[in-house]
Structure formats: C-alpha cells, structure tokens
C-alpha cells in the first residue's frame, strides 16, 4: 500500500513537471504570403534562426505556414515577427501566438487586431 502511494505521488510530480516544462514556451503560428518555391523559405528560416533560444522551427511550404516555439520569458511580440518576415522579403498574412499563460494574440494582414483572450 505504501509503495503504491509512493508511486502515485511520483507519477503526479512527473506529470506536474512535464506540464510546467510545456508552459515555458510561447507557440507561434505565422502564415506568410509570397513563398512560391521551397528555395524562398530558406530566407524566412534564416531570419528567424537569428533569434536566440528559438526552437522547433517548421515551415510548411504548401500552406506557407511557419511555426516555432519561443521562451515566454522573452515575450516576443507579433510586431517583431512581422518585421522579420518583412526582412526576409515576404508578407505576413496572419500570425498567432499562444502564450504559455494561455493568452492568445493575433495579427492579421499587417494590422493588429488587438484581440486577446484567455483560452
């Protein structure tokens, strides 16, 4: 009985620890216009790779979607994301960030929607 309790407590701690790790990153989804070829996407990746601590950069060339994770402590703004897309030579169509605290922010067609809501 004692060992079962100990196991349960350990499992609960592990799950809590995993959840805490997941919440250290903000998750960004960026839809980019103008990427008409795979070669074009390298410029986008290059611009975002310059950001320290960025992780899990993925580009879906067919949908023009860039996704990446970024530490929530850095508080990367969607305006900065837009600037990097522009520096790569492309146009931001839509961007969304799911903050680690559950807040969702969006930016659409170079105009901030200003909508923010809790998940």
């Amino acid at each position: 009985m004692k060992s079962i309790l100990t196991t349960c407590i350990l499992v609960l701690f592990s799950v809590a620890n995993i959840n805490a790790q997941e919440k250290t990153n903000d998750q960004f989804t960026v839809e980019i216009n103008g990427m008409g070829c795979p070669y074009c996407a390298s410029g986008v990746e290059d611009q975002f790779s310059k950001l320290d601590h960025i992780s899990d950069i993925k580009i879906d060339i067919k949908t023009g979607t860039l996704t990446f994770d970024f530490p929530t402590t850095e508080n990367l703004a969607l305006e900065d994301v837009k600037k990097r897309v522009k520096a790569a030579g492309y146009t931001l169509s839509f961007a969304k960030v799911e903050r680690a605290n559950g807040t969702v922010e969006t930016l659409e067609k170079e105009k901030t929607k200003g909508k923010s809501r809790k998940k």
Partner: protein, 262 residues
C-alpha cells in the same frame, strides 16, 4: 520551325504533368526572387563555349550580397581560358583574368499572395575592361560595357515564369544589343522544406544587335539539384537562330556550376 514545334510540345507536356509543383532559381537567366536581407550567395557557373573561332571557358567566382531584402550588390571575378583556332586568329591559347563585372539589383515591385508572388527588379551590370582584348563576348573583351534591364518573375506553387528585358551599351557600339529572356523552371520532385529539389529548366535568350542589325536566339536546357543551401546547376545552350557576323556566331555552350547561400 520544326525544332520550335517540338520544344513547345515538350513544354506543354511537362507543364501538364507538373501542375502542382514549384521550382528554384534559373540557371542561365536571372530571377527577381531575393533570399532575405543580410545574406551572401557564392556562385560559380562555368561556361564552356564552342565557336568556329575556337573554344573558350569562363569560370567566375560570383559573390552576391543582399544588404536588404529588396536589393543585391554583386561582383563577378572571372578566369578565362581561350583556345583560338589558328585558322581564324593568331591569339593562340592561354588563361587570363576576364572582364570583371559589378552587378546591382533593386526590387521595386512585389505583390505576394498565398503560395505565389509577382516581383519586378531593375538590374544593372557593369562590365569592366580588366580582361584581354580577345573579343569574346561576355567573357573577355577588354572594353567597358554597361547593361540596364528589368527582370519580371511570377512564381506560384503550380508554375513559374521569369523574363528579362534590357539593353547593353558598349562604347564603340559593336556589342550594343537589346536582350529579351524567357525562362520556365519545372520541378521533378514534390516541393518540401528543407529544400530537396530536382528541376528542369527551359530558357530562351533573344539578342538584337543594333549596330549590324543582327539577331540571335539561344535555347538552354538545364537541370538543377538543390538540397538545403547548396544548388548544383548544369545546362546545354544551343543557337536556334543566328543572323550575325561570323565572329559573333556560337556553336553551343555547356554550363556547369553551383551556388551556396550563407
């Protein structure tokens, strides 16, 4: 005429088969697509040109720098190997530095859509007389030449077209010409990122020589393999029409090279 019909038939078939794929940068032509500010592209595209006057090799080191996302400055440092046929010239054979080229491009129009883009750039290419006076056009003339043109490109995930239109000035007028290029790139693999592409290219180049009212139509068939930041190119260029002075005529050219983006 028969050759042209075949070419159009092949183009039509390849376009029909590859309706869902995209392509990479042209081989013998130019593209208005730029790859992001602050990047450097190193390129070599060695041309082996066969003419009745002899065989010439142009091996440039091309350094392209993009200070911003819509501009490029570049320098082309070429080595030229020449082997003149003794029947036509007493210049013999040898290797020397060719005409240094400085290029600049500025993108002045861009319209992006989902998986597609239309771009236009203005382009200048300055040919400096650092090479010997060998009279090899585009390689080693020993004369100053200045080119001004515009490149238009439309690329979507379904198809891509690039075209260039410009004028080349030379001080004595012998190499003044109006240039019109048209290129189609067709992928053989599905588009993925990271880049892993195998592309076919069909590129046409028209030149109208204003001094002697000459005309040339060149056709290049190329193949390109691109993986990550490395691209390898190969093409064969033939003359479809040559209404020119004998010293301006070409038999064929072979292009081999690669490019790497930093």
């Amino acid at each position: 005429m028969k050759n042209s019909c075949w070419l159009f038939a092949i183009l039509f078939m390849v376009f029909s088969i590859n309706q869902n794929f995209a392509q990479g940068p042209p081989i013998t032509g130019d593209s208005p697509i730029m790859i992001g500010g602050g990047r450097i592209l190193l390129r070599n595209i060695t041309e082996i040109r066969s003419t009745d006057r002899g065989t010439f090799v142009w091996a440039p080191l091309m350094v392209h720098y993009l200070p911003t996302s819509n501009s490029v400055v570049a320098v082309h440092l070429p080595l030229v190997h020449y082997n003149f046929d003794s029947e036509f010239s007493d210049l013999g054979n040898g290797t020397s530095f060719g005409d240094l080229q400085i290029m600049g491009k500025y993108q002045f129009y861009r319209k992006d859509g989902m998986g597609k883009t239309l771009r236009m750039v203005v382009k200048t290419l300055q040919n400096l007389p650092t090479g010997k006076e060998l009279g090899i056009e585009g390689m080693s003339t020993g004369h100053y030449e200045s080119y001004l043109g515009t490149v238009l490109g439309y690329e979507t995930l379904e198809y891509g077209i690039s075209t260039e239109f410009g004028y080349n000035f030379s001080p004595n007028g012998s190499n003044d010409n109006l240039k019109l290029e048209l290129g189609f790139g067709l992928p053989l693999l599905e588009p993925t990122y990271p880049v892993n592409q195998l592309n076919l290219y069909f590129e046409y180049e028209n030149q109208f020589y204003t001094e002697n009212s000459g005309y040339r139509l060149l056709f290049a068939q190329g193949i390109q393999y691109a993986v990550d930041q490395l691209t390898l190119d190969a093409a064969v260029q033939i003359s479809l029409v040559q209404d020119l002075l004998p010293e301006q005529k070409r038999n064929y050219s072979i292009f081999i090279g690669g490019r790497y983006v930093f």
